[in-house]
Amino acid sequence: MKKAYFSISDNRNLPYYKMMEASLRKFDKETPLILIDDAKVKQIGDPHFWYRATPIITKALLKDYDVVCHIDADVLVLGNLDHIWEGDYDLAVTYNSNPRDDKMYPIRLLDIHPYNYVNNGFNVFKSKAFIEQWLKLCMSDHFQNFQMREQDLLNILIYYFSESFGGPYKVKFLDNGPKWHNLASKGYTPYTKMVDGKVILPKNNEWPKEDKQLVAYHFAGGFSSAKMKYRLIFPNDVIQFIDTLVKP
């Protein structure tokens, strides 16, 4: 199976990309990480590129790779990611929110439960057909009608057209297992701790109900002044661990 990660980063985000790259390489030294930088974005020349970049780039990469993982530049990789490639699926996705984050940044789309809404910052794709349909929607008149553009359309495809609803696509929800990969832990990171070299968010009365290992954490939130400032949101033992991860 030929696999690759890709990330899209303009010059402003490059320092974050470097941190993400360094942390990823602590766990995976071999899988290619493809950077779509400012020059490539200009070459593509799509005025709406930043709002439909994932299907555009994924479509191109699936010509050369069997499976690709889109990882945002403002993600810190905190654990081994070998498991994300495994299994029979068309796309593997991760969640956007949780009880605390939903109070701060509520996102509502149709009747999709806010905790089930998928975030586009960390996803894995195998199906060319899925990407083709997603991209066509992103190029259609529907595109401008959705606040979160490609991310909203991704959620519509998942929650109306996947196998569970009689559609063609097999969707794997990576966060449903013992590991979290994106924003499901946002707001709860101060409660994490290091256990046997892993970043663990212990179960509690609020969230989550089972112990979870954070294998990736997505800062998100646009150009926030807190971007990638892990010292503000993790406890000391985890900070010391991340210090070692982000070193080149």
């Binding site: 605390r100 946002k186 707001g187 990171t189 101060p190 002044s225 400032k229 503000l232 949101i233 993790f234």
Partner: protein, 416 residues
């Protein structure tokens, strides 16, 4: 082993000469750190104007700190020192800039440029106002000085370092009550409550109206009762304390430290005399990020009536060193949070309980108050056990030494 003291620290707050709560804590902490060899300058956005100057620790206070000086930078154009943190920090070649102040007042245009900004800030509202969250996002690390603040930050996804405020237990200690009253000109035969605080706004943050209404109920039962006010920051928009006492009919039972002396001439020794002159303190503030007077009073052996909200309950041992009054209602504020208005009847009931434990065994109350503060809020202990390890760790982090040149390893043990 030689102490490594290479970290250059700029501290943005009130000048120690200002005698505000911030100024006093800044004095008690920073002169001790300077004595330990840390390179410190103060950006005094309140208390110093004109140009930089070296200011010595007040010679009449703690003799252990006599002769130690700290460079003070003046206020610039921006009232809360945002510009000073940037420009003074650059001049001082600061490696880290602490801010002991409210963060919501700070200018984000400067915050984004400040090198390693660390707020040690009051968190005094629940929920945490958005304008506080926005400014905290500019920090390198976040520190707070109350458990209430620590927990509010946790609820908002922040992992803060908690180091409580402390007080100088040499300056604030039990002394002869009658001597203190004689010195201040307060009658010897009164049961005296005192309030020390700023009076800058109306409704008053320090809860003067609720305190006066509670005192009225207490005075009706105890005609020997009196109140002493020390307002160290006065503003034309403040609460009319004297006038309201007159309206309630007990103006003759209320004593005031002279405004001029309160605002400009009262260092901690004067406050300590006032605490020693009184029987107990009233401190039912509507918001408190800490409440320095609560621990100063107890260090002087006096119980304190506080309100059961924010940082205040954690500063007393309820039933032994003070009592916490209930909140009557919460007032919604422009920052989309609340201030708590104390229930005057509950404040009064706490005053009665305080009166009773003092009458039952005043010496035990004095000892309990003193021991509680010496054990938990002694600034010397906090500097030695919390601040120096924290700064040593920060120094290692910001100015790492080659592995072969470790002079002093940090051994940090903070509530995280």
């Amino acid at each position: 082993m030689k102490k490594r003291r290479e970290l250059r620290i700029l501290w943005n707050s009130n000048s120690p000469t200002s005698n505000s709560g911030y100024g006093i804590e800044t004095r008690d902490l920073l002169y001790r750190l300077a004595k330990d060899g840390w390179q410190i300058a103060i950006s005094a956005f309140y208390g110093v104007q004109g140009g930089p100057t070296e200011i010595a620790y007040p010679s009449h206070l703690n003799s252990q700190l006599r002769g130690i000086t700290i460079k003070h930078y003046p206020v610039m154009s921006e009232a809360w020192g945002s510009d000073g943190m940037f420009f003074h920090g650059r001049d001082f070649k600061a490696d880290v800039t602490f801010a002991m102040q409210d963060v919501w007042v700070l200018d984000p245009n400067y915050l984004s440029k400040i090198k390693n900004f660390i707020p040690w800030s009051p968190i005094d509202k629940e929920p945490l106002p958005l304008n506080v969250i926005e400014k905290l996002n500019f920090a390198y690390k976040i520190m707070c000085f109350s458990k209430f603040g620590y927990n509010e930050l946790l609820k908002n996804g922040f992992s803060a370092t908690f180091i409580t405020e402390g007080t100088d237990v040499e300056i604030f200690q039990p002394r002869d009550k009658m001597e203190a009253r004689k010195k201040l000109g307060v009658p010897q035969d009164v049961f005296l409550w005192s309030m020390v605080g700023a009076n800058k706004e109306n409704p008053p943050r320090k809860g003067y109206q609720e305190a006066l209404e509670a005192f009225k109920m207490f005075y009706d039962k105890h005609p020997e009762a009196a109140m002493l006010f020390h307002v160290q920051q006065r503003h034309p928009g403040g609460f009319p304390i004297k006038e309201y006492a007159n309206y309630l009919g007990f103006a003759k039972r209320v004593f005031f430290m002279d405004d001029y002396r309160s605002m400009f001439m009262s260092t901690s020794d004067t406050i300590a005399t006032e605490y020693n002159a009184c029987d107990a303190l009233l401190h039912p503030s509507q918001t408190e990020g800490f409440g320095l007077g609560i621990i100063e009073g107890q260090a002087s052996g006096k119980p304190v009536v506080v309100q059961r909200c924010q940082s205040m309950p954690e500063l007393i041992i309820e039933g032994k060193t003070g009592f916490a009054a209930d909140t009557l209602y919460k007032r919604y504020t422009n920052d989309l949070s609340f201030v708590n208005v104390a229930d005057p009847k509950s404040v009064y009931e706490c005053m009665e309980k305080t009166y009773k434990i003092l009458k039952d065994d005043g010496k035990k109350v004095e000892n309990d108050c003193r021991e509680w503060i010496v054990a938990n809020f002694n600034i010397d202990t906090l500097v030695r056990e919390k601040w120096i390890p924290f700064l040593t760790s920060l120094q290692d982090e910001l100015l790492p030494l080659p592995l072969t040149d470790k002079k002093e390893s940090s051994n940090i043990n903070l509530l995280k």
